[in-house]
Symmetry: C3
Subunit: 209 residues, 3 copies
Amino acid sequence: MEEHHISAFIEYANSIAIVAFALSGALTAGHYRLDPFGVMVLAAITAVGGGTIRDLIMGVEVFWLSRNDYIYSIVITSLITMLFVRRPSHVPMQLLLVVDAFGLAMFAVLSAQKALDYQMTGLMAVIMGTITGVAGGIIRDIICNQIPLLLRREFYAVVALFSASLFVIFESLGFSENFSLFVSMICGLVLRLAAIYWGFSLPAFAIDD
Amino acid sequence: MEEHHISAFIEYANSIAIVAFALSGALTAGHYRLDPFGVMVLAAITAVGGGTIRDLIMGVEVFWLSRNDYIYSIVITSLITMLFVRRPSHVPMQLLLVVDAFGLAMFAVLSAQKALDYQMTGLMAVIMGTITGVAGGIIRDIICNQIPLLLRREFYAVVALFSASLFVIFESLGFSENFSLFVSMICGLVLRLAAIYWGFSLPAFAIDD
Amino acid sequence: MEEHHISAFIEYANSIAIVAFALSGALTAGHYRLDPFGVMVLAAITAVGGGTIRDLIMGVEVFWLSRNDYIYSIVITSLITMLFVRRPSHVPMQLLLVVDAFGLAMFAVLSAQKALDYQMTGLMAVIMGTITGVAGGIIRDIICNQIPLLLRREFYAVVALFSASLFVIFESLGFSENFSLFVSMICGLVLRLAAIYWGFSLPAFAIDD
């Protein structure tokens, strides 16, 4: 595949991930009865929060700063959600979960790639991938006054960790960047979908009083 | 008006906004029975949290870092609040709301101006204005374990968005910076005060289970 | 004492502080029944959250970015906690409080030193020390949906403020860096341990409805 095909793919994938996470933020906002601006704020934080924290920690320009299209995607996603969704039954939840799983795997792998591009170690690349995958959702849940479900019962953070690690391993084994990107993303996606389908969950670490 | 008059005005306005937001943080701290250092921490986060996040995202020096006077204002505001306020009835709530409204409009417009000064797009200037206006209050409410009211019922985030947008529009129409600053600030202030007086609120976006 | 002895001491002290705070995060995670990855995320945020915010605000490279050993310490601390702790009675709480107090005093003093090294004012050095001492614990409590105890009843933020201030005062009086580091750390540690032993607490600032 040629270079510009890959970057076009990455571009699309990134946008889909942004929209998926914005949708998840907007739906959560509806559950907690935020006003329209609250909906947009929550959608934006969920969609770009993880990548923003990653970029601040890496010390590079925040990714959405020089581009208006990410912001437009979030606003449009919020508006469409508010116009068309009135009950959870209006949302094709299966589709949402698949789209969110795709976003999670994409964000994790693309962030690991970004970290390696900036000469960070493999360990740091995995951490950047995990931060990008989970931080937006953690802040969304914090604002809505919940203990983040994704740290508790869902097989979620581990998917970000797994797909970012896979990418780093493939890269260090000398595979082509295409191969590493696609395969690690798809493995992450499959793991997350399998976890949803069969209801995987990790045992809780519980200290009983 | 001469250049140094404007910058003196901006200086004063910024300080009033800091004090107003610090007061709001300190009063919230009293409601949740924090200890004196907790009161100062909450006052500081409310007052400078939004501007700090704005500066981190913009990649410029955090605004309070090279100046001690912002910190002194926050400490003094916290001390005075703790000394003189024992009941909500001790606070002239109407005055507080007006001062807070002034702070909100000032922060939003001055942040939009700062973003344009750094060659950011109008959209980003509006976003920086909104972040500065609302982020401190959101973190204050998060620490106190509440779903931020300003995302739910209050006509608040929209005021930041409105006054920052107005400033960007005036600037793009070629009005003088003075005019743009004053008029957009005053319009934001009036909108917020009208919302308080007549009890405007936006309809909640509610997804019913 | 020779230069490399000091830096070796600082190195060890920093690592102990990281482990102490990671342990505190992991134990809190067990109380709220997070899954193993949630435990690691919470341990990491508690351990490096304060220093990360300090470095972002100071505009310097985040301290754990170029070093893998901090991350390994956190992962190992989390794993050991999950393997061996099943009841709070399994944790020697007295030891934990002492280790945490040591971490608090170390983080506060070392951060004040870092700030002075970067030519910041004494006031900013004290603020950086306080942020580093308390921010990780505040975020830990926010994620677990609690109003941070350290802002409410514990004699905690004041210890960070006190030991960072002491360091700045000693430095400005021209004492050697060794002396300033050790004495301010030990005074902070003693103050915290005394507060735990005799149950000091600051009076709450309460606004009654």
